[in-house]
Symmetry: C2
Subunit: 317 residues, 2 copies
DNA sequence: TTGAAAGCGGTACCAC
DNA sequence: GTGGTACCGCTTTCAA
């Protein structure tokens, strides 16, 4: 329609600096007039760059992962990439199958949640020869790149924090999630080193929610009445624990201290508020995007980024 | 590698019923052994079916949209489709641009939030000739299909509900969001019909959160002390209003009744809990998926699905 | 700066 | 039931 070769249109769109100003204007005018929409499937096939990034997360509903995915999507979108969403569920049993189907879309990079993946998945990821960013956890041997923090350190830090404050009768209201299990181990190890053992635990199905939190505390209190501090594997559970404590007339933190995890948006402004472990979820998405973009542009990027965490003290501990 | 024509491999994967059992087994064995991963970009280009569905939502972080997208993704995933995420932000100013870039991926269907789209977007959508599902709202003239509910009716229902309960000094803590504006109009119209005017309004930026909710109630109370019921444009804001009310020593619902909107997961179990308008977010995602799948299979599906809503009464009204 | 030809990796169509 | 051939719509490569 524009009276030029297809390749000139391609260049006008993708590398306008290679085209004369006049040709460029003309092609653009025809594009606008004709309503031409380039077919990126075809483009991806020919160029072997799909400009698609797969994000595999357990869930995005009411969850700490949503915000990371949101940041990832935003940042990648600026650079012309779109995010393919893969929800692996809890437990991440669907990850293998999901990864296989997602890789057949030929994404240019993959964002993964967690660091434990089946040998088949690792193999497939390696074979794809694309940037892979594992997140939400730390390991010295990532598949490729990693943006996360140490769950063991979180557990240890919270145990020491609570013990420093004088609490000795500790309880956990805990979702049966892989990374939470590592936090628990860190917590129990550090507590044991300080001479605090006999930690009560209520295990609940993941993902946690307010109702499960209430049930968790109820179970804990029915079994052991002398609890003075509870650490929860998520803020959602902590909200439930707080609710149950209030319903039972317990003063927080007077009778019972409560610590959450994740620092979900609703937490910081609640009154009386929950103490929690702040994780910079936006940083996980953003840094993952930057890591991928760096690799796309052959620029160097740190292999492992530890974004750390922070204990946020509020009225409840 | 299998000693058969490419098309036979294609059939073994996509239409195994057309291939002899022996050939099928052999091809499958070779596929497993070689680690062959089909290229769906190429397949999509050739077949003109990308098996991609675009979902355009304002945001997925801490939001009512995340759950709908989750259900959509799950249901479509079962059928071999993947979801391309498009985040249009608040206000949906990026929708046009987003839609253009997303359509160049040749999705087989599009999930949209809301019913107001620019003429260019409507045009592009129509030109794509694919199923389009608009959601979260109602109109007699959708682009194609629609799964939603009437925001005007929600507003009217809440006004009548509060007035029936004897509240006369009404306030709104409201995010500046398009659909919320329609609920507000319905609320004010119905209230006016019952003789209740002079409704105080605090307008806040979207999306609402707990902190903004606190600020909203503070503003309302500072301007008009005689408030006896507040309707919030989201549960997140309502949580903030509740928090601020408690901080000021107001009894809820004795001194101040509070009504939220959306029925976010944290709300149902909070104690004392918020009354709210329950929207079946999962149904929006699921029914949208079903609508698309029906159209893919040339099966009929209702053009417009009104999922309705429900006022959930709890301690706070 | 622009274009011709080839091909990316599959699937549609029709013959065998 | 299986295969040959053409072609999906774009980008690569190399030549002009």
């Amino acid at each position: 329609m524009a009276g030029v070769a297809p390749i000139t249109v391609s260049r006008a769109i993708n590398r306008p600096e290679l085209v004369t100003k006049d040709t460029l204007e003309h092609v653009r005018e025809v594009i606008a007039r004709s309503g031409y929409v380039p077919n990126l499937l075809a483009g991806g096939l020919a160029s072997k760059r799909s400009r698609l990034v797969a994000a595999i997360v357990p869930t995005i509903g009411n969850s700490i992962f949503a915000e990371a995915v949101e940041c990832l999507t935003d940042r990648l979108g600026e650079a012309g990439y779109k995010v393919l969403l893969g929800l692996s569920g809890y437990p991440a049993s669907r990850e293998d199958e999901l990864l296989a189907t997602v890789l057949s879309r030929r994404p240019d990079a993959v964002f993964l949640t967690g660091i434990t993946h089946s040998p088949e998945s690792r193999q497939r990821l390696l074979a794809a020869k694309i940037p892979v960013v594992e997140t939400w956890d730390l390991t010295p041997t990532p598949i490729d790149m990693l943006v996360g923090f140490s769950h063991e350190k979180v557990g240890r830090a919270v145990a020491n924090y609570l013990i420093d404050k004088g609490y000795r009768h500790l309880g956990l209201v805990w979702a049966s999630d892989e990374r939470a299990a590592i936090r628990r181990r860190g917590f129990e190890d550090a507590a044991a080193e300080r001479g605090v053992t006999d930690i009560k635990v209520a295990i609940l199905p993941a993902p946690g929610n307010l109702k499960l939190g209430r049930e968790g505390l109820a179970k804990l209190l029915d079994e052991a009445g002398d609890l003075d501090a509870v650490f929860c594997s998520s803020d959602a559970l902590a909200q439930g624990v707080l609710t149950e404590a209030q319903a039972r007339g317990l003063a927080v933190p007077g009778d019972l201290a409560i610590m959450g995890f994740g620092d979900l948006e609703f937490a910081p402004y609640t009154y009386p508020s929950l103490s929690t472990v702040r994780i910079d979820r936006r940083a996980i998405g953003l840094l993952s995007a930057e890591a991928m973009l760096a690799r796309f542009g052959d620029r160097p990027f740190e292999k492992i980024v530890d974004i750390g965490f922070e204990i946020v003290e509020r009225a409840s501990t």
